[in-house]
């Protein structure tokens, strides 16, 4: 019996967490706040009021007899954390008395923990929390909890719980005295699909008290005892014996961010709890170890008098030298043109988070190449043939600021950043550009009730051909080497068109598979307006035509886009054939960048199954390229038509590769965790969408990236 659990979080994140020493070496002062067996901040089984450090992302695995919980928790703000939990439960009683015992189930649940009062000298920290607020309800509970440090190494916690946390030693709900007797009973669950916000139950029904004491015995060792208000109604007597309502535990800090707990639970069971945490704000290797940049080559004061006028220099020769010098910093020259004392350089190869550094390095390259009489540099980064932005720098500023203390801010203040009016004809002989690529790939399939983790490993060949500016052909082919993605035999029971739920058939029959084979034309109709038309095999399951327009003003936090597609479903073998299903699909999308690093995207439109609705996606973005976000899609497909899960939702994590490895690279890794993949609210995937393509060169992102200008 496979009690050792392998999970996606384990696969994707543990690889990162174990490979790197994520957090700074400083110990955590005072009493360590750690994760409980549900993976949110707490004692052993019970919650506590304090939070983990802002932005921490933690994987928590806890196991005791017949119960394994794997939880991914993100400290969304300094006060709010959110968790996604995947539980393996054996020998479970049914939800109602007399229901048959289930040998084994997988259960998915979400939790939120919000600390609304901070601890002061007189007052405890106080937090409120919701567990399993739209899962299948096994762990559904709510709590209000307070924690107070009473001695430098002792902290006491007390709280009141409802639902599961109000099941042991319960009493009449205190809220009934205020809100009336309707708070006395929990109405129970509304449906079996899960994923409804079961708000009618919150803080209702009997309540119970819980509490505990934490003693920080040494720097690394914490001992905890707690009184539990959870009777484990579905487990007790079958999965294990719950003899006493007291749990005891010892938590040892293996290294900063890594804790191992040994617990004695319910007077009968031993349990272990391992948590591994990283913080996107703290790269393990101090960030990318880029090689030293080219230095500013300062002009000697009398160089201008030497008669080195621009006309004396052959342009071809300069372009050749600039091409070589840019290649040394992993950039490509598109064109270099000199007019009077101004040089305009257009280069390719920058990315969303490295635009500041790439512009700064290009400027320094130019100081080493261009004749002294040239004073103004117009630097134009090009992405997918688009040139959204021009950065104008004075050469004398670069010379003066290179070793100034405030060089970063001063150089930003003196730079002129303009949105380019329209496509400027840029003569160049650098086309066609061909970029082949070849490498391994890893594709997981998650949360199948028969096998929660399936994994394929294989090789992928990929190529890009750009015969002319902005015309981009992309292709990618995959061949599986080993894996068990083809092991899924569970047929889709979806009543909607099977736009996504036949993924097992695609996995089984697509070997080798053409993942992508498209031609795209990018264009710039006017200032701040960008366009794309893509034709071909857009993604593994659909092919067709996709057209997009994006309006993204230079210094606005707002962006707006429209995308229209007409697509046809591809054959399961993912070669050149199509199935019968075809659908027009498309969205209007608004993008909003908040000041504090949050990013909101709202799509409204028609999804692949022909359903109409809205997607809301909220990301916390870090300036080093990390993103942690959640999305949910609500369409006119009813919960019962949708099936398990009721609506489409999930978590997205983007990790820049240079954050992990320290090696200078512009690539990142994105993973989407969906509790369940159904057909409602499914959106078409298209490579090279405009917003992520151009945003790194627009005002806000460019300013965020400017710290690396002199790097």
């Amino acid at each position: 019996m496979a009690e050792v659990m392998l999970d996606i979080q384990a696969v994707a994140l543990a690889a990162i967490l174990s490979g790197v020493c994520a957090l700074p070496a400083a110990g955590e002062p005072g009493i360590a706040t750690t994760y409980n067996t549900y993976g949110y901040p707490g004692l052993i089984d019970m919650p506590s009021a304090h939070s983990r450090p802002d932005a921490e992302l933690a994987l928590n695995v806890s196991h005791f007899r017949n119960t394994t919980r794997t939880t991914l928790t993100f400290q969304i703000t300094p006060r709010l954390s959110g968790s996604f939990r995947y539980s393996n439960l054996y020998e479970l009683k049914g939800p109602s008395p007399g229901a048959p015992v289930r040998d084994f189930i997988y259960d998915r649940s979400f939790s939120l923990h919000y600390r609304f009062l901070d601890e002061t000298r007189r007052r405890p920290a106080v937090a409120v929390g919701l567990n399993d607020f739209f899962g299948t309800g096994i762990y559904q509970s709510e709590y209000l909890v307070a924690s107070k440090t009473v001695h430098p190494s002792v902290r006491v916690t007390g709280g009141i719980g409802w639902g599961r946390l109000g099941s042991a030693g319960s009493f009449r709900n205190l809220l009934s005295y205020v809100l009336g007797s309707r708070m006395d009973t929990r109405p129970g669950r509304l449906g079996d699909e899960g994923s409804k916000l079961e708000a009618q139950n919150w803080f209702r029904g009997p309540a119970a008290l819980f509490g505990g004491v934490e003693w920080q015995a040494s720097d690394r060792l914490k001992l905890t005892a707690e009184y539990s208000s959870d009777v484990y109604p579905q487990e007790d007597g079958i999965a294990f014996e719950r003899r006493i309502p007291v749990n005891m535990g010892a938590t040892y800090r293996l290294r900063p961010g890594a804790h191992l707990s040994l617990n004695y639970l319910h007077g009968s069971e031993l349990g272990v709890n391992l948590s591994l945490a990283l913080n996107p704000k703290d790269p393990p290797n101090g960030g990318a170890r880029d090689k030293a940049p080219p230095p500013v080559v300062a002009r000697t004061p009398d160089a201008a008098q030497l008669g080195w006028a621009p006309k004396d220099v052959k342009g071809d020769d300069l372009s050749e030298r600039a091409t070589r010098a840019l290649a040394a910093i992993d950039l490509e020259l598109h064109s270099l043109r000199i007019t009077g004392d101004t040089a305009r350089v257009v280069f390719r190869g920058t990315s969303r988070t490295r635009s500041g550094q790439d512009i700064g390095r290009t400027a320094r390259v130019l100081t080493g190449i261009l004749p002294p009489a040239i004073e103004t540099f117009e630097i134009v980064p090009m992405v997918s043939g688009l040139t959204p932005t021009q950065v104008t720098l004075n050469r004398s500023d670069l010379e003066a600021l290179e070793y100034e203390f405030d060089s970063s801010w001063s150089s930003y203040a003196r730079a002129r950043i303009d949105s380019l009016e329209r496509v400027v004809p840029l003569p160049t002989d650098t086309y066609p550009i061909f970029r082949p690529g070849f490498g391994p790939y890893l594709q997981p399939a998650l949360f199948d009730p028969d096998e929660p983790v399936r994994l394929d490993f294989g090789i992928e060949a990929r190529a890009t051909l750009e015969p002319a500016r902005g015309l981009i052909f992309r292709g990618a082919v995959r061949k599986r080497l080993v894996g068990n993605l083809d092991g899924s035999t569970r047929p889709s029971d979806s009543v909607l068109p099977h736009v996504r739920s036949d993924f097992a058939l695609y996995d089984r029959e697509g070997d080798p598979a053409i993942i992508e084979l498209t031609g795209a034309q990018y264009f710039q109709p006017s200032r701040d307006l960008y366009g794309r038309v893509t034709l071909g095999y857009l993604e593994p399951m659909f092919g067709g035509l996709s057209a997009e327009l994006l309006w993204k003003p230079l210094n606005s936090r707002f962006g707006f886009g429209v995308e229209l597609n007409y697509v046809r479903q591809r054959d399961f073998n993912q070669l050149f054939g199509f199935r019968d299903y075809r659908v027009p699909t498309g969205h209007a999308t608004g993008y909003w960048q908040f000041d504090n690093g949050y990013h909101l995207r709202v799509d409204a439109g028609r999804y692949l199954a022909g359903d109409w609705g809205t997607t809301i996606a909220l990301d916390r973005e870090f300036k080093n390229g990390w993103k942690v976000g959640a999305f949910a899609t609500f369409t006119n497909v009813s919960a019962s038509e949708f099936g398990e899960g009721s609506f489409d939702k999930g978590i997205v994590v983007t990790i820049p590769i240079d954050w992990i490895s320290g090696e200078p690279t512009r690539d990142d890794f994105t993973t989407v965790l969906r509790p369940v993949q159904r057909d409602g609210g499914a959106r078409l995937e298209v490579a090279g969408r405009l917003y992520e393509t151009v945003r790194g060169l627009r005002g806000r992102d460019l300013q965020n990236n400017w710290g690396r200008f002199w790097r």
Binding site: N279, P280, K281, D282, P283, N285, G286, G287, A288, R289, D290, K291, A292, P293, P295, V296, V297, A298, T353, E399, E402, Y403, E404, F405, D406, S407, S408, W409, F622, K623, N624, G662, N704, N705, G707, R708, W710, R711
Partner: protein, 188 residues
């Protein structure tokens, strides 16, 4: 010269095992030996550019150090780099123009590549004559210590200064990640 280049390559023997005074005497090109004990790395560096009073030195594997009259104002390619520094008061101190406390300013990049300012309060401590030997060549210097404090951090930079003010050898703090840098001027 190939000896020197070989010393720059990764996994190469420590420059101290390779360099000799006879070898150094065959060249007139300025050469700097830099060692970072915390990063367990050492390399010889040659001048790559000059901007005003700041000279930038580069190693074969593209690490660079920028020195203003021998005092570090920037590093690149280490990962935990010193982005910029205002060392005007330190230079005055070395010239004997400052007594008592003075300030020193550094900038770094944090984990999100945003500029981080760090201010130090510093004081000269002791200056005594010391004869140092750099690859068999003795050099008479004045050994000057600079004690600096910043919240949560205490450091001591050491400068070995020739009679003409030239810094033959230094030990200077770079960053929390890179620790102390030791420089020795092998060829002036």
């Amino acid at each position: 010269m190939c000896l020197l280049l070989a010393a720059c390559a990764q996994k190469a023997p420590h420059p101290r095992q390779v360099l000799t005074r006879e070898g150094l005497n065959t060249s007139d090109d300025p050469l700097l030996l830099a060692e970072l004990a915390d990063l367990e790395t050492a390399a010889t560096l040659a001048p790559s550019s000059r901007n005003g009073a700041v000279r930038t030195w580069a190693s074969g594997d593209r690490v660079s150090l920028s020195l203003r009259h021998g005092v570090l104002v920037a590093s690149r390619g280490l990962g935990h780099d010193l982005m910029s520094a205002d060392v005007g008061n330190t230079l005055d101190m070395l010239d004997g123009q400052t007594s008592g406390y003075y300030e020193r300013f550094h900038t770094y990049l944090d984990g999100e590549y945003q500029t981080l300012y760090r201010t130090f309060r510093c004081k000269r401590s002791g200056a005594r004559a010391e004869r140092i030997v750099i690859f068999d060549r003795p050099q008479d210097t004045t050994r000057i210590e600079e004690h600096c404090v910043s919240p949560g951090l205490k450091l001591t930079n050491i400068y070995w200064r020739g009679p003409d003010g030239f810094l033959w050898k230094t030990r200077q703090w770079v960053s929390p990640g890179a620790g102390y840098l030791t420089t020795e001027r092998l060829i002036r």
